[in-house]
Symmetry: C2
Subunit: 110 residues, 2 copies
């Protein structure tokens, strides 16, 4: 993952509302949720939620699928895995021999 791809993801996750939306979508898994359900579950006005869903979708963290007159949203787990890989690389840049994920976990400064 490039810096220019990671940046909008961090921006998307830097709002409490959007982090809540994403975590909820992760918890419900592949079933996802339609916009109205999200609005009710998180107690966020539909118009405001739509704004944040757009930001999340633009960053690629959620996908939207038309379902009759509903719009179903799902978390993009693949992108989250890529983000974790990016952060792991950043953590170890410049000293890869000291800092496999195991070395990191063992408390070395890497």
């Amino acid at each position: 993952m490039e810096k220019n791809a990671a940046l909008p993801i961090f921006e998307a996750l830097s709002s409490g509302i959007r982090l809540d939306v994403f975590r909820l979508l992760v918890r419900v898994g592949p079933a996802g949720m339609v916009a109205g359900e999200l609005s009710t579950a998180l107690d966020i006005p539909p118009t405001n939620l739509s704004f944040h869903l757009k930001t999340l979708a633009h960053a690629g963290l959620v996908s939207a699928e038309q379902e009759g007159r509903f719009q179903r949203y799902r978390a993009n787990m693949a992108l989250m895995r890529e983000l974790i890989a990016y952060l792991t690389e950043e953590c170890c840049a410049g000293a890869p021999e000291l800092c496999g994920i195991d070395a990191c976990a063992s408390g070395l400064n890497c």
Copy 2:
């Protein structure tokens, strides 16, 4: 890590300048860099850099140490590891049996 701890970290990483500063500090490792070196290396006015360093320090991503009249900054690798652990948990919430980090890496939707 709690949501309220993760949020300011995402906020801190959601600026291109701050992401550059952090990645540079990761690369130079435990030696760290003083503010003036960072300003020159990244071509950012000292006053602006100081603003962003403050944000990074507030999120805990960098530490500052007085060194004579210089201020030496270092990346906080431990917090980055905690953030990676938090994201890994979020990734797997609700279906832990499907989604160890290995399962995630193998491409399962988790």
